[in-house]
Every structure is written in C-alpha cells, then in structure tokens.
C-alpha cells in the first residue's frame, strides 16, 4: 500500500509537469508551420518554453490541474478499494506539494476542500482484465477551461442541418470547433463519441484521450472522419489561443457505441494543448513499477 501510494504520487507528478511525447511532437510541427512574427507564433513559442520550464522545475504545466481522472485496469480479484484509498492519499499529498492545485469545491457552499478530495473527486474508472498479472493505471488531468467548451448534440439538429448520419456528425463536430474558438486553450484535441446515453456518451468521448495522437482508427469510416475534421478545422483560421493562425486542432479521436433507437447523441470533449495524460504499469500489488506509458 505504501509502495502503491508512492508510485501513484510519481504518476501524478509526471502527469502534471511532463508533456507526453506524442503531443509535444505535434505541437513542434505546428510551431514550424506557423507564420513567423505573428501572435500565433508568439503563442506557440510561449507554449514550448512553458513545456520546457515545467519539466525542468517539476511544476504544473498549467495551474489548472483540472479534473483528476484515473483509468485503471486491474487483474480479476484485484482490490479496487485498496487502490482508491492509496490514490486518494497520493492526491492529497500531491496537492500539498503543489503538483496539483486545490481544485475541489463544494458546489453548495463554495468551500474548497483544500485537498482535492470530496464527493465526486477524484474519479475512478475501473476495468477488470482476465488473465492480467499487472495493474495498468492511466491518469488524465483535464482543466476547466477546456471542459467548459465541451458540447453534446442530439441529432437530428435542424438548426445545423445535421441528420442522423456521419455527415450530420461532421456538421456538429465542426460547430463545436467554431463555438470553442480559442477558449479551450487551443490548439486542442477533440475526443468524440457517437451514440450512448447522455452520460456514457461524454464518458466515452473522454476515453478517446487515452489514445496516442499518432494512432489510426481501426474503423475506416471513423478514421477518415478524424482526418477530415482536423484538416477542415485547420482551414478556419482560428489558430492558437484564437489569435488567428494555421493550427486550430492538433488531433481528433472518434468512437461509436450503440444507442437507443430514439437517441442519437454526438458528444465532444475538448482537450487543451496542455494535454496531461500519463500511464504506468504496476505489479499486481502496486508496489513495483514495471514500465511507464506514453
């Protein structure tokens, strides 16, 4: 348990302070592509300097260390409650050390718990894996600015001319990009879910952020839509921070799950450029680090 807590604390530190390589690479490409001596270039240069300082000083890339989302694959029989207890302790300690901001506020009284612990925070998504001998832990820290520009559409949407097909999905996804402008700290990444109910649709859209940015969707139709959304968005001229410029989106990841005959939701989660996602594989008791992910 002590070893598990220490390992989760290190996972939180890395997630808060160190940018994943896949995202860093795409940000570097977008800096190279941007027009020189523009405010867009200024924004991207600042972003690059920021990534370097955060890693060097082991401090948060962004002060909004966001919602704390744990995605955990445990072997059958793994004790999820023990994991949760250790993770809560690690979160409280990471907050004390300044890897996480005090980010858990009582919705009725406005009182900040000061520890990041409270009803609904942090959140855990457990999956059991048959035959697994290790615990796979992935952590996403998702800031409030990008969370606030997420959007859910119910198709058909006559205002946007969006029917219940992939063309309709494309229309509403691009509307979400237009409405977000730079408010979600672009250039960002979209996680999209087609289908589900209102709650599961958003939940699956966020799980798309666990995919490496350079992977390809195994479904050819969704793969084509992902590529097309990025290409079209980058022709809109919204640019980094909404200053105008060439890069509006760094990526788009889409999944589809089944729906009710009566419902057709398209849920779009927006992840800011400060895409904080890390993972670690631990021994079954959580005490030993087997490898780091991403």
């Amino acid at each position: 348990m002590a070893g598990l807590k220490e390992n989760l604390l290190e996972l939180i530190r890395r997630t808060s302070a160190e940018m994943p390589d896949d995202v860093h690479r795409v940000l570097t490409e977008s800096l190279q592509a941007e027009e020189k001596r523009t405010t867009a270039e200024f924004a991207l240069k600042t972003i690059h300097a920021n990534i370097e300082i955060a890693a060097r000083k082991s401090q948060p890339i962004c002060q909004d260390t966001g919602s704390i989302l744990f995605y955990v694959h445990v072997p059958v029989g793994g004790d999820q409650l023990v994991f949760e207890e250790a993770a809560r302790e690690a979160v409280a300690e990471a907050t004390k050390k300044g890897f996480l901001r005090q980010n858990s506020v009582d919705s009725l009284t406005g009182k900040n718990s000061g520890t990041n612990l409270g009803p609904g925070t942090p959140t855990f998504h457990f999956t059991q894996t048959r035959g697994a001998t290790a615990v796979d832990v992935r952590l996403i820290l998702k800031g409030g600015g990008c969370e606030n520009v997420g959007a859910q559409y119910s198709l058909p949407d006559s205002r946007l001319g969006a029917d219940r097909d992939l063309k309709g999905c494309r229309r509403v996804i691009l509307d979400a990009v237009l409405q977000a402008q730079g408010k979600g700290c672009g250039p960002g990444v979209l996680g999209v879910c087609i289908g589900g109910d209102r709650a599961t649709s958003y939940a699956f859209s966020k799980e798309q952020f666990l995919r490496p940015l350079d992977d390809r969707n195994p479904n050819p139709e969704l793969d084509a839509l992902e590529q097309e959304i990025v290409a079209t968005s980058n022709q809109l001229g919204i640019g980094p921070m909404g200053f105008g410029g060439k890069t509006t989106l760094l990526g788009c990841k889409i999944c589809a799950v089944n729906r009710l005959p009566a419902s057709y939701f398209v849920s779009i989660s927006y992840m800011c450029w400060a895409f904080r996602r890390r993972g670690v594989v631990l021994s079954a008791d959580g005490g030993t680090i087997e490898k780091w992910l991403y």
């Binding site: 972003i47 300082i53 955060a54 909004d64 050390k97 901001r101 900040n112 408010k183 909404g242």
Partner: protein
C-alpha cells in the same frame, strides 16, 4: 511595448488590437468569486486604481513563511462577462488580463472607462509564473480559498496580446466572424 503600473488613460488609449505588451509593476488576481462579490456590493481592502486585474487562480505554496507562486496562467474570462464592465468602473482598472476574450458589454466598458483586455497565453503557467517576482500579499483567502483569493503580485515583463482595445476593436469578434464564414463554405 512595456506597460508600467499604474497605467495612465493616455497610454491605454494608444493601444490597439494585435499589440504585444509586457507588464511591469503590480497586478492583482481576481476571478469568479471576487467578481460576484464586487457585483453584489462588496469591497476589497486594496486600491487598484490605474491597475491591472488578472483572471487567474494560481498554485500557491507557503515556503519558510513566504508565499511562493508555483503556477499562474490565465483562466477563461468569459464567465466574468456579466460583471466585468461594472468592476472596471468600480475599481478604476486600466487593464484586465485573461484568456478566451470577453463580450460586447466588456468591450463597451473598455471604451467608456479607458481599459483594455489583454490575452495571456492560456496554459502557460510556468512562463508566466517566472514573470512573478514576488507575492506581496493576499486578501479574501479564507473566504474564497486559494485559487479564488485576491493575490497581489509584483511582475516583470509579463507578456500579453491586446485582443480588445478601448476603441471598440475585438480580435475575438473578428476571428469568430471570419471563421464562421470560412466554415459555411467548407460544410
């Protein structure tokens, strides 16, 4: 261009959308709770006339009895849209720093009271924290909690872009209009 606080109205009126500026002097943080508090008739024990309000909820840690700023990027400003123009007038602000831009009511307030909206790079909490040379004080810490408190910060060459000026210009309006037009052609 370097802006030194307190800033005069003449200097503010000379700024236009797209200008890159660097602020040196004192800025105060203030976000959701403070705006609502001021709107509801509250007052703060600090004088911000000619000053700069920063939409920011920093990560602060006390080390050897001194507050140290660990991260301090801007937060989304649009949530303060209902209150901002009134707060600019009430506090006598010359600049508001944030991210994401603000709406028509704030734009009109900037024009009327001689203020600008400055966009810092969202997420760049470390670059901006390095510009904070000293945490001079804090108020409303107990009442609002650390991210929502009013922190008085001494800054040097804090970089921002003017995205809303005191002449009615707004980069956010322009980019929204042009991107909407482009999207209509691509649909």
């Amino acid at each position: 261009m370097e802006l030194k606080t307190p800033i005069s109205e003449d200097v503010i009126r000379s700024l236009h959308v797209g200008d890159l500026v660097e602020i040196t002097g004192v800025v105060h943080t203030g976000r959701d709770a403070v705006h609502k508090f001021l709107h509801d008739g509250g007052s703060l024990p600090v004088d911000m006339r000619g000053g700069v309000l920063y939409h920011c909820g920093p990560v602060m840690v006390k080390e050897d009895g001194q507050w140290v700023c660990k991260a301090a990027g801007p937060t989304t400003s649009t949530r303060e849209e209902p209150y901002q123009a009134g707060v600019i007038q009430k506090l006598g602000l010359r600049a508001v720093i944030g991210k994401g831009g603000m709406g028509d009511k704030t734009l009109a307030g900037c024009k009327e009271f001689g203020c600008v909206y400055l966009h810092a790079v969202g997420g760049a909490a470390q670059v901006l924290a390095e510009c904070i040379k000293k945490v001079r004080g804090v108020c409303m810490l107990e009442e609002f909690g650390s991210p929502e408190a009013v922190w008085e910060l001494e800054v040097e060459k804090f970089p921002c872009v003017v995205t809303m000026d005191s002449h009615g210009g707004s980069l956010h309006k322009d980019v929204f209009a042009s991107s909407k037009e482009k999207l209509a052609k691509l649909l």
